[in-house]
């Protein structure tokens, strides 16, 4: 897949030493069982050569994916659309290490010149844009998450906006520009992306509006109508004209195409992720690109290639424990939990028992106040088993939501408890999807989910 015009020269001098040290550190880290072996080496590499990110990105077509929710899934779907089954055709940080150490590791481990699709932590997007000179930047959504680290959604939006203003416009003779694929339904994303020279606005939907009610332009109020269109009540800040939008489960473009988003991942938020990736994928290819078999990549082709993705880093994974099917779900913040509750309603939840696991480690955010923004009242009628480091915060929240719950310290024991509860004769008798037959949903926030995934 290496094309001579964009072939990367092998890193030389300092960068070459940094790459070798990076690989050795990652190998050691894996060999010692200290982790997935991407962050440690990345740190070593960046310490030896602070310019390593730019060096490794040179000669590659780079796509960056950022936002509060859906980064990992969208990255995975975009990789599927571009790689088309060719294993190492795309460099990507699929272990979830979404800061520069993870990015250099991902690129150092892939052939020079291979395309790179990188999931980027929201706070690092500006640096990644400056150093990797991406072809495409995908901006999904922005809402409250880890406020102890990022402080305020609006500060983040302003930083994104400043980075967008630095992007270069359309391709020159031998230079490429950057195209931003941005969610037109999220006012925060629109405000951030607006200064970029070339934006494809995608109406991907946004379930969570509570961080976007104050107009970022003038401080006025933003009104949303039933189909997601929005406008400020004071100034002319409004949803931009969309190049593409999700209509139910179809991706419609202003060019008149209409394609079913038939992916294996459940829920409307995953169809939104797939739509963003489907619009982004063609922007990563050049005309007459080898590997795309002579035909240019269309959103339809991209969507077809995504159908191979059945789970993403364990999210939405089905597993079985003691003969019972379990479904593992990740929800990190109020917007994510709301989307997961929508998913339970859409796919039919098991009313018998649900396991909820909440931690508040650094990667989760240290403040658990967000639990009170999550509509746990929607779990009324379920038996909830609360677990995780912060199970007591969760238990108090469930008490005030008047949701039936028990607290079990160990997450695996909590799953077993849920299985036992689901086998008890139900007061109302087992209905469809209930009782002893249905899958038990196990929902965790970031590190709680990771622990469950590892142990189940």
């Amino acid at each position: 897949v290496t094309v001579s015009t964009r072939a990367a020269a092998a890193p030389s001098g300092r960068a070459a030493v940094a790459v070798e040290a990076l690989k050795l550190s990652n190998w050691l880290s894996r060999a010692l069982g200290r982790g997935s072996g991407t962050v440690a080496g990345g740190r070593v590499g960046l310490a030896l050569d602070p310019g390593l990110l730019a060096t490794l990105a040179r000669g590659r077509r780079v796509a960056l994916v950022s936002g509060t929710n859906g980064k990992t899934t969208t990255t995975r779907l975009l990789v599927a659309a571009l790689a088309d089954g060719r294993g190492d055709a795309v460099a990507t940080n699929d272990s979830g290490a979404n800061m520069p150490a993870g990015h250099v590791s991902a690129m150092a481990g892939a052939p020079g010149g291979a395309d790179a699709v990188l999931e980027v932590d929201e706070a690092y997007l500006g640096r990644l844009i400056d150093e990797t000179r991406p072809r495409v930047v995908v901006l999904l959504n922005l809402s409250r998450d880890q406020l102890d680290r990022i402080s305020e959604v609006r500060m983040l939006v302003d930083r994104w906006r400043t980075a967008m203003a630095r992007l270069r416009p359309a391709p020159g003779s031998d230079e490429h520009g950057t195209v931003v694929v941005a969610n037109a339904d999220d006012p925060m994303v629109v405000w951030a992306a607006a200064p970029a020279p070339d934006v494809r606005w995608v109406g991907a939907g946004q379930v969570w509006h509570n961080d976007a009610v104050g107009c970022p332009a003038c401080g006025g109020g933003i009104d949303f109508d039933a189909d997601g269109a929005w406008a400020c009540d004071r100034c002319d800040f409004a949803r931009p004209r969309r190049h593409a939008w999700l209509e139910g489960s179809e991706l419609v473009t202003d060019g008149g195409s209409r394609d079913r988003v038939a992916i294996d991942l459940p829920g409307q938020f995953n169809r939104a992720n797939a739509s963003m990736a489907a619009i982004a994928a063609p922007l990563m290819t050049d005309a007459g690109d080898p590997g795309s078999a002579g035909e240019s990549l269309t959103p339809a082709t991209a969507l077809a290639r995504m159908s191979s993705v059945g789970e993403v880093a364990g999210r939405f994974a089905a597993t079985v424990r003691r003969g019972r099917p379990l479904r593992l779900l990740l929800a990190k913040n109020p917007a994510g939990w709301t989307a997961v509750f929508d998913l339970l309603d859409e796919t039919g939840r098991s009313d018998a028992a649900v396991v909820l696991s909440v931690n508040a480690r650094t990667a989760d955010g240290l403040d658990t106040s967000w639990l009170w923004d999550v509509p746990f009242e929607r779990l009324g009628g379920c038996s909830v088993v609360a677990t995780g480091d912060r199970r007591l915060d969760l238990a108090v929240r469930l008490r005030y939501a008047e949701v039936d719950h028990v607290v079990v310290a160990d997450p695996l024991a909590a799953v077993d408890r849920a299985i036992e509860i689901s086998l008890l004769p139900a007061a109302g008798g087992p209905g469809p999807g209930n009782g002893a037959d249905g899958a038990i949903d196990v929902i965790g926030n970031y590190t709680a989910f990771a622990e469950l995934r590892k142990r189940l």
């Binding site: 402080s151 658990t368 007591l392």
Partner: protein
């Protein structure tokens, strides 16, 4: 009993809407008819017995303060004996003035004699434990409040004027941040604090104190409320207090802090 969560669309960033939920449930579990109102901005503030104002970002805080001053309902309600709880940005805007993002001062509601300025140090982010001062409000039983636990996340510093009474002194964390190591302020039935968590979910004695104030009507004082089974809240409090280390050294420090 009408409980209004003030402008959740502007001041709902840090889960402080939970304070309204806690008050409403604790009242209704005692058989008190309760109305929990989400009072969105852009329309007149409804009459209520308790107003809960939460934390938010700088821009929305300014917009909320302007709207509340123009509306005028909170000031009138306080004169009638209504209870007001302000947390973080909601606490700042109850005071005389607070800063915008650039540090320029703006008028607050003036219901608490406190003044907030942009801080110069690092943002205060983390767990807080604060022990009530002698000047803190007393529970209906005459006992003092138990230690306050919560999570703070703010960059500003709040100074108490002579008309504001102290609530607590921080054992862990920053609180008001003015060098006096106080956290929160109160006067009459207006109570301000920097603590999220939410504050009343982690400090149910304070929740019941505010409910008692509201139930006693405009004459003042407080009414005793029947106790609830707070085993889960107590377990959470114990775990949170232990998480910041209630070591002998911390206890010594606290005793010293209470004297100075």
């Amino acid at each position: 009993l009408a409980i209004a969560v003030v402008y959740p669309d502007l001041l709902g960033t840090y889960g402080d809407g939970g304070n309204g939920i806690v008050l409403a449930r604790r009242a209704s579990w005692r058989g008190i008819g309760t109305d929990l109102i989400q009072a969105h901005s852009g329309r007149p503030l409804p009459d209520a017995d308790i107003y809960c104002i939460g934390g938010g970002e700088d821009g929305p805080e300014l917009r909320a303060a302007e709207a509340l001053i123009a509306d005028g309902a909170i000031g009138r309600a306080v004169d009638r004996g209504a209870v007001v709880l302000g947390v973080c940005a909601g606490y700042q805007l109850l005071g005389r003035s607070f800063p915008d993002r650039a540090g320029l001062p703006h008028d607050g509601l003036g219901l608490l004699d406190v003044t907030t300025d942009k801080g110069t140090g690092p943002r205060a982010v983390g767990e807080v434990v604060a022990t009530p001062t002698n000047d803190a409000p007393r529970l209906g039983s005459g006992q003092s409040l138990p230690p306050l636990t919560g999570f703070e996340n703010h960059g500003a510093v709040t100074a108490l004027g002579p008309g504001a009474r102290t609530v607590a002194r921080v054992v862990r964390g920053v609180g008001n941040g003015g060098g006096d190591r106080t956290e929160g302020a109160w006067s009459g039935r207006v109570f301000g604090s920097y603590l999220h968590g939410p504050l009343l979910a982690r400090n149910t004695a304070l929740a019941d104190l505010l409910l008692g104030w509201a139930m006693s009507g405009p004459s003042g004082g407080t009414v005793p409320l029947e106790p609830l089974d707070d085993a889960q809240e107590s377990a959470l409090r114990a775990e949170r207090l232990a998480s910041v280390g209630d070591s002998p050294r911390a206890r010594l420090f606290r005793r010293w802090a209470d004297r100075v």
